[in-house]
Symmetry: C2
Subunit: 191 residues, 2 copies
């Protein structure tokens, strides 16, 4: 391995970085095709774009956010978005006093009324939405989003969303995260 030449990377290096065996890396990558060259390794640029293609991160996804409360504001200020190819396209809230306010951290964006959801989703071909509203409002918001054509929901409300089978939901449940953590802490203690 020559650290000066990092146009290629070996399964050994990747494995060390990801804490898995080199064979695991090779098996996993081979599943999607043949990217590497024997004796050389994987071309970093080629591998990066292949993985992007596989994961669907080779395109920019328009994302909308519903809920301009504390959580919504924190999320819209989150910098990791753009870096991973997600563009916060619009923010919605049903509180009239919040509509029209600028969105901190995203120049040129202001909070829109919920009635605009349908129009924006269609116009900008939005497929992903973040639900950051109180629990009691989450289901009806989800239904509005699905009706508008959204296919993936990232749900921060502590409720189960009922959606059609062709819509993906990923829930961020703080309590579950903490439970997992407390379980790990117990296990560590009894080692």
């Amino acid at each position: 391995m020559r650290t000066s030449d990092q146009r290629t990377v070996s399964s050994k290096q990747l494995g060390a970085a990801l804490r898995v065996t080199p064979t695991q890396i090779r098996k996993d990558l081979a599943y999607f095709g043949q990217f590497g060259q024997p004796g050389i390794g994987y071309d970093v640029n080629e591998l990066t774009s292949e993985i992007r293609r596989i994961l669907g991160t080779d395109r920019t996804w328009n994302v909308i956010l519903v809920g301009a409360g504390n959580l919504g504001m924190a999320l819209s200020a989150y910098r990791g978005f753009a870096r991973k190819g997600f563009k916060l396209s619009a923010v919605f809230d049903d509180d009239p006093s919040k509509v029209g306010r600028p969105v901190s951290g995203v120049p040129g964006l202001q909070v829109l009324s919920m009635q605009e959801i349908g129009r924006i989703v269609e116009e900008r071909q939005v497929r992903l939405a973040i639900v950051a509203v109180p629990a009691e409002a989450a289901q009806s918001v989800a239904e509005k989003l699905v009706a508008a054509g959204v296919k993936g929901l990232l749900n921060f409300a502590p409720v189960n969303l009922n959606v059609p089978a062709d819509v993906a939901v990923s829930a961020v449940d703080l309590a579950v995260q903490l439970e997992q953590l407390s379980f790990q802490v117990i296990c560590a203690r009894s080692d």
Copy 2:
């Protein structure tokens, strides 16, 4: 199965609810001991408390929160905490203008200075902490918490925290969640 008598539950019922096979349920539960009765099933109360004991959710965990920005405020207002046996015990921030402010949603709590972390962690036997500070501050906050004796970190900052092996870290990475979601949306389309 008699729905009127739900003092017991069978592996079949549990499996249907959790979308796994009844055998899986029995194998998993048997790993921790013998809770069930042949011909009857599992006593709901007994099973519940056994699972609580196994997962460590039979006690109340004191949790502290570092960072009283938008995200921190959203998290402290989160209701699911207490329901799952977690008690938000204190909130810290290094911004002097925030110190002393009341914490919305948690009566009797006010934002404390970072210097108090050591004392509070020791006094209240805190083992879990939530890191809700900007990325650039996260590592030093993590080190302070670990030094104070915290054994589990729930990290919302978009950085990898470097901690000793006996400390558990669970990261909530918005970008990763969105990536998974976009992947699912792609897959659904090609079905």
